[in-house]
């Protein structure tokens, strides 16, 4: 057949260009595939570079902690803690004075001068109590100087070592040899410090004796309520005194050569309650204050954003007229387009002041924490972040509500349910997984947000005082994102501080991956089967 041979020729692929055994179409396919892999590569690169810069932190932190011990700083901090606890007690006393003063001026309606006169006895007592610490204070300040000197010597030695290493690397062996490194003999250097143990015991005994004496002269306070506080103070002081032997035994058993376990470099980061950098004494890289700050701000933001976002989603999806929907949806989408730095600026320029002014309004004084004086705090940042999270939560929750089959709603109505009953008993439960994942993704957005918290959270690196109850939200905090943004520009590359910031970044990275993961699980596992 004449037709059959051209047909078989045409069907067989011969003429196409091949490259490395791939046809043109295969090459294109590979090219597009390559682009698709980019997202995997980027994720891998993020992980790699965060660890590349951050991993060195743990070694450096261990070194940091080792020096803290070897130079005797740790030894002195035992004593310093004793001093700090005493300071806390005196603060309790000043608080007590304030309460008495208020009692005299507000309830007994005495003039200020009279009130102060009435407090003279108490002031005398408080003053004496404050002075009791003197022997310890002198000792600590002497020791501080000595330990600082040892640490300084060590730092100089490290610098010299580094200098020599660099010279060697440049191949200038002669110069390198000329760098003199004087090794620090910690045992020798520490002798004078440890040698103060008898003096400490003496001072401590003196201290404790004086406290006992002062305590015996404690005045009786005017009201039973205040007296209860005074008794509480006495009890606290006794507990404080009973802790003294423990300090002594700590000091006696302290050994500068005891190695710092490797895991402590990690635990001191994760559980460390202090983030203290560029300090003359000792730097601490504990993430807890930052983590708590981030979580507090996020919690406030979600507390505000979830009801608003989900409520708005239900309203738009179930109640609003089509005309309302037409402007509400773009309106809320538009809010999500407001750049975070603009919101942060708004917080600094307007919202902070406005909220503080509101808190000082007398009719709101029943609200816990009101009035407050810090303009930038958890509340300010939380309000703004809530505004950022609402569009995310709204959009995703609205999608979830939209995915509930009409049949559910119609069936419910047909049974005589009201709209509210239908919404609460049928629609919301059916879309609950979607709503929960919307909230989680909102949390992810909020916890990773930088500019608003950097500008509006107050940037005080401390764990907020939870004993204040709900009023805790009026305290300033610092956050994980904020600290990176603030300090990254100022640190020396490769320093422990620099690496610590990267480790915070790693934590943040995995935290957001975790939140994302949970959101996906929620959606996948609890999705109702539709159709």
């Amino acid at each position: 057949m004449e037709a059959s041979s051209p047909a078989s020729h045409l069907l067989v692929n011969k003429s196409r260009i091949r490259l490395f055994g791939l046809s043109f179409d295969d090459c294109i396919r590979v090219f597009f595939g390559g682009n698709a892999i980019v997202s995997i590569i980027v994720l891998a690169l993020i992980t790699y570079f965060l660890f590349r810069e951050g991993a060195g932190f743990f070694g450096q932190n261990r070194q940091n902690l080792t020096v803290y011990r070897q130079a005797g700083l740790e030894y002195i901090d035992f004593i310093r803690a004793q001093q700090d606890d005493h300071t806390a007690l005196t603060r309790y006393l000043s608080d007590l004075r304030l309460r008495q003063f208020r009692h005299y001026t507000q309830e007994a309606k005495l003039p200020v001068a009279d009130a102060n006169a009435k407090l003279a006895v108490f002031d005398d007592f408080a003053g004496q109590f404050g002075d009791t610490v003197e022997p310890i204070r002198t000792l600590v300040s002497d020791l501080t100087e000595q330990a600082s000197a040892i640490k300084e010597k060590f730092t100089v030695m490290e610098d010299k070592k580094e200098e020599r290493r660099q010279l060697m690397a440049e191949g200038r062996k002669g110069d390198a040899d000329r760098v003199i490194i004087t090794p620090v003999n910690f045992a020798e250097e520490l002798k004078p410090i440890i040698g103060t143990l008898p003096a400490y015991k003496e001072a401590s005994a003196e201290f404790s004796r004086r406290i006992e004496q002062v305590l015996a002269t404690a005045p009786v306070l005017p009201t039973p309520e205040l007296q209860v506080r005074m008794d509480r103070f006495k009890q606290l002081t006794r507990e404080y005194l009973s802790g003294f032997p423990a300090v002594v035994s700590h000091l006696e058993s302290w050994d500068y050569a005891k190695p710092v376990p490797a895991v402590q470099a990690l635990t001191s980061f994760i559980f460390g309650r202090e983030w203290l950098t560029a300090s003359f004494w000792q730097d601490w890289y504990g993430v807890i204050p930052l983590l708590v700050g981030s979580l507090m701000v996020s919690a406030v933001a979600l507390l505000l954003a979830v009801p608003l976002g989900v409520g708005a989603a239900i309203y738009v999806n179930q109640i609003a007229t089509p005309a309302e929907q037409k402007f509400i949806k773009p309106g809320i989408e538009f809010i999500s387009a407001i750049p975070s730095v603009v919101l942060g600026f708004f917080g600094i320029a307007v919202l902070g002041q406005a909220l503080r002014a509101l808190s000082q309004a007398s009719w709101l004084s029943w609200v816990p924490g009101f009035p407050y004086s810090e303009r930038l705090n958890i509340l300010t940042a939380g309000c703004l972040l809530a505004l950022m999270a609402v569009p995310t939560i709204f959009t995703l929750a609205e999608d979830a509500l939209n995915n509930v089959p009409r049949a559910f709603k119609e069936a419910s109505f047909a049974l005589g349910a009201t709209r509210l009953q239908t919404v609460i008993k049928i629609i919301v439960p059916a879309s609950l997984s979607g709503i929960i994942s919307a909230v989680l993704l909102g949390l992810g957005r909020v916890i990773g947000e930088t500019m608003v918290v950097l500008l509006c959270a107050g940037n005080r690196i401390a764990i907020p005082d939870f004993s204040a109850g709900l009023a805790v939200v009026t305290q300033p905090v610092h956050t994980m994102t904020g600290i990176i943004a603030q300090e990254m520009g100022e640190v020396v590359q490769g320093s422990i501080h620099y690496r610590a910031l990267f480790v915070v970044g790693i934590l943040l990275f995995f935290l957001s991956l975790g939140i994302n993961y949970v959101a996906q699980i929620v959606v996948r596992r609890y999705r109702i089967s539709i159709g």
Binding site: D25, I28, R29, F32, G33, G34, N35, A36, I37, V38, S39, V42, L45, I46, L50, R52, L308, G311, A312, Y315, V316, I319, I328, G331, I332, E333, F334, I335, A337, I338, P339, S340, V341, V342, L343, F345, F346, I348, A349, L387, V390, F394, T418, L420, L441, G444, G448, T450, M451, L455, I484, M488, G489, Q493, L501, G505, L508, S512, L513, N516
Partner: protein, 346 residues
């Protein structure tokens, strides 16, 4: 018998009243959110308008748009209060030697304009979107046109999903670690471009894939059945119809790129730079220079310098201009999307 006494007569029961109240709360929540958004935007627009517009012709403060930030000098001269920018102050001083030295207060960044910031932001957006669109559209084509379900594709999708959740500051750290330090690009446009591009990549991929999905299957099958290769089909019969959707959805990506501060803080942004980006010695330097950018400038003027009535003007002005740019981009995307939706119906 009165008509109102039939069984179906509507009654104001307690359930009905509760329903009304709760629905009112939902509505109140919705409008409260909108109100908050309006207050934020309104404050900035109203107070920023004072800087951006002026009473005299041409009614727009051209200095603010065309000049670099300067220090503002405030001083008394012959009983009048004078406010002059740095350059103007110097000429004034030269012309009037009797100006008492040291009697003037100066406020950084409070005079002049924000031209270099606008330029920097535009450069950052253009470059990073070019990179992100190339990578993102190609990835979306692969995912929608070529990929078959399998472990690999599941991984890709998982990566995209997770990449979307990575905080922007982490992208900043990554960009710093990789481009600025490891590649040695220093703080530069190039480093900023790639950092921003990777950050916005998931948005672009998702948007592009959705647009590609919206192109009916029949277009592909019809084309293939006529003997088109896969590549010809994609180029001639899929991309042209998906492209408008891709571009409009990507505009939201632009808004994000323009608005982010954290990723460029350590990778591309300078607090202040005298030279404009095109004032470079050789061509390649263009890519390796840092730039000023609007969002970073807002951050600097609102938290890094002492606050007073003079800095406030530049703060609100910059925020207003920035918001205006972002709003224009976002509105353009919404309008375009609606128009294209109407035009392409199949």
């Amino acid at each position: 018998m009165p008509a109102t006494h039939h069984v179906f007569r509507a009654q104001l029961t307690s359930a009905r009243r509760r329903e009304g109240f709760i629905f009112f709360l939902f509505g109140a929540a919705t409008y409260f959110v909108l109100l908050c958004g309006a207050v934020v935007i309104g404050t900035i627009v109203v107070r920023g308008a004072g800087t951006v517009f002026q009473a005299r012709a041409p009614f727009i403060n051209t200095t603010f748009f065309t000049e670099a930030p300067e220090s503002l000098h405030v001083f008394q001269y012959q009983g009048r209060k004078m406010e002059l920018g740095d350059a103007a102050f110097r000429t004034f001083e030269a012309a009037h030697p009797d100006v008492a030295k040291g009697k003037s207060d100066s406020y950084v960044y409070s005079a002049g304009g924000i031209f270099p910031c606008i330029v920097g932001t535009v450069l950052l957006v253009v470059g990073s979107m070019a990179i992100a669109l190339t990578l993102g559209v190609c990835a979306a084509i692969y995912l929608n046109e070529y990929a078959r379900d399998g472990t690999f594709i599941r991984f890709v999708r998982l990566a995209i999903l997770n990449l979307a959740g990575v905080p922007s500051i982490v992208f900043g750290l990554f960009g710093f670690g990789m481009f600025v330090i490891f590649f040695g690009w220093n703080v530069s446009l190039l480093a900023g471009w790639f950092t921003l591009a990777f950050m916005v990549l998931p948005v672009i991929i998702t948007a592009s894939e959705e647009s590609l999905k919206a192109v009916p299957k029949g277009f592909r099958e019809g084309s293939l059945a006529l003997g088109a290769t896969k590549w010809q089909t994609i180029i001639k019969n899929v991309l042209p119809y998906a492209l408008p959707g891709i571009l409009t959805s990507s505009i939201l990506g632009i808004a994000r790129v323009a608005g982010e501060t954290a990723p460029i803080m350590f990778t591309a942004a300078y607090v202040v730079r005298d030279k404009l980006p095109w004032q470079v010695d050789k061509f390649s330097d263009f890519f390796f220079q840092g730039v000023m950018a609007l969002p970073y400038h807002i951050y600097v003027v609102s938290s890094k310098i002492p606050q007073n009535e003079y800095t406030e003007r530049v703060q609100y002005g910059t925020a207003f201009v920035f918001l205006l740019i972002v709003a224009l981009i976002a509105t353009a995307s919404i309008v375009l999307r609606n128009r294209l939706r109407n035009r392409y119906k199949w």
